[in-house]
């Protein structure tokens, strides 16, 4: 009888792991709020796949634990030896095959919308991001949209400005990013925008997004961007790239309007083209 303990042990472990995931949405362990136009498509696929896998996970684990509990430690009992069961094999081939086919077809429109270069919307804002060990260098053109975005992305201009780790755009803009890497593989990950794209050495990869919400207002008098603390949207690297992988953190600043963005850009350009030393005290230093 004591051997039943293992069946109970595994049953409890699995139940606890399952519950700890199931309570996720109510305790803040779930997906961050979506702020991207194509976010619902990605989330839909995520939930469909999660639904299928949850169903089969529960089914198989319940069977497994039940079998462990039911058939363990019976002296003299012999296992059955089954050589094959044609109908059962057909069933467990056709059902997953059908599900995979469904997923393959269901994702086409989302993939087309997000990743197809020919289907990307005409950009309102073009920028170029270069990943390196270990930060992101964001390059902004003199105007939000250069005449030939692709050519601009490949060849730096004298009036570009460079900012580490800060991605600025405005709400409702079709943003086109040309993604490069200086060294190894990195992956640009914007969780709130449901956007993830690997950066491959030697390649320039276009990605796009359109944010449906904003978190930033530029304050012209202090020259600082005021970000809503409850909406701190991070940029992360999603491809292990070395010892400093964890610190490839950036921030996404979505301005409320294009004008607000342009005011910020003008300020950033002035700072980048400065011919005088910066003022000694920053507002924070003045406080202490």
């Amino acid at each position: 009888m004591q051997h039943k303990g293992w069946g109970i042990f595994f049953g409890v472990v699995l139940l606890v792991s399952f519950l700890s995931i199931a309570v996720g949405p109510w305790v803040g362990w779930w997906l961050p709020a979506n702020v991207s136009t194509f976010g619902p498509d990605v989330d839909y696929l995520y939930y469909v796949i999660l639904g299928f896998t949850t169903f089969f996970f529960i089914l198989t684990e319940v069977l497994l634990v039940w079998a462990m509990y039911r058939f363990v430690g019976r002296p003299g009992a012999k296992s059955q030896y089954i050589e094959g069961h044609h109908r059962l094999e057909m069933l467990w081939t056709i059902v997953p095959g059908g599900i995979l086919l469904y997923i393959a077809i269901a994702q086409i429109s989302a993939w087309e919308k997000i990743k197809y270069q020919a289907k990307m919307p005409d950009p309102d804002l073009v920028m170029q991001i270069t990943a390196r060990q270990w930060d992101w260098t964001m390059r902004y053109a003199d105007t939000p949209k250069p005449t030939d975005p692709r050519a601009w992305a490949e060849i730096p201009n004298s009036d570009d400005i460079y900012l580490p780790d800060e991605l600025h755009c405005w709400k409702g803009a079709n943003v086109r990013i040309y993604l490069k890497t200086q060294d190894v593989l990195h992956s640009l990950f914007l969780p709130q925008l449901r956007l993830k794209q690997d950066a491959l050495p030697g390649k320039t990869i276009p990605v796009w997004f359109n944010a449906t919400d904003f978190n930033t207002r530029f304050n012209a008098s202090t020259g600082a961007c005021e970000t809503d603390k409850s909406k701190e949207w991070e940029i992360a690297c999603a491809e292990l790239c070395g010892g400093g992988h964890y610190r490839m953190r950036g921030l996404l600043y979505v301005h409320e309007t294009k004008d607000d963005y342009l005011n910020w850009l003008k300020h950033a350009q002035q700072a980048a083209r400065s011919r005088q030393p910066e003022k000694k005290t920053t507002p924070v230093a003045a406080k202490d």
Partner: protein, 422 residues
Amino acid sequence: MNPAVSFARKVRVFALVVPCLLPWLSGCELDPYPAELTYPLRSDPIVTSPPGSTRWDTTAPGQFEIHIAHLSDPEIGGKTLDPAKLPDKERSQLAAALNEIFGTPAAPTVYLKDADQQLTDALTELKLDKETLAKGSILYRRHCMHCHGVTGDGRGPTGPWVNPTPRDYRQGLFKFMSTDVHVTNRKPRRADLRRTLERGIEGTSMPSFGLFEEAEKEALVSYVIHLSLRGECERYTMEPILDGSGLEGSVRDKVVELLGDFLQAWAKSDAKGIEPGAYPYKEGDPDHLQASIRRGFKLFTDPRGSASCINCHVDFGRQAPFRYDKWGTLVRPANLTTGVYRGGRRPIDIYWRIRGGIDPSQMPRADFDDQTANKEQWRDHADPYWDLVNFVQALPYPQMLPEDIRNSIYGSRRTKTEHAQR
């Protein structure tokens, strides 16, 4: 029950329970250094005089220590001192003095028992108080130590594998400074170290730490100054003992005396920066800019002028050989046609590099300060420093250069449309 079975069962239960508990072992909080850890005394060779020769190859990955060990070979021609030869008595005295003044990695200090008012002021100005340093050391351990090392020797575990090698603070030498050129023993200003921290260094492995909080950046700057002071006191106390010239007083007196000097140098440097003259040209006027670029080109390429950049930045840096810097590492005058500026790409950054020089990598400063001696360069309200800045900024972008200059730098093979694309 059979005891052997019972043992096997215990092992099985253990094997199942331990992995479940593992996640609790790794924490996410920032841990300080262990309290019992002390700063180790320097053991790597002190480069007293780097070789003057040039080379076409650089150090292979992981070979940094071997490279430094061979610096004093006769065919290379550098001079080094070996700290391993420090007599035991002086060694323990030096360790005691350094530990007394600079504390431990977990509790760093810059502590002077009988400091006069001037030194106390310097300590306050440079924010070298205990609390700031303790905070800085925790952050440093997490984010900087793996390249820059516990003592700031640039020899952390990652250090030898990156090129250029991480900065070794212990010589008290830094490259990117805006400190006034007339300050003796120039040190970087706090703002300079902060800028490097915030922006990282383009073209090297130094990333940006711009998203740190203000107080965190300030604490890291203080801690870097602490490590630099400790290392410099250590080095310049060791040097006279090792080269045989000897110390006048005790080892501790020497450390205290040096600390006083270096603190003064840091405080004086922090107080006075290079103030650029007002930009003499009309901002956004293409004619003014073209004329300025033309003058800058002339200053850059004149091999006998006060700037004479071309002598080291051979072919605008495209054909410059490696040289030894004061740390003994191999560095190359920048290839200025690539548009990568390690010290920053703002006009003011380039201005500081030109007017202040980059002392430790042996880049001299361009000196046009004497306006009577350099009448030609200052004529018609021109400013030779800004002329050089304008030229260096235009250099990577052919379409910004006047046609004859563009052809002399990039050749005339490119068609007009190709230039226009850039």
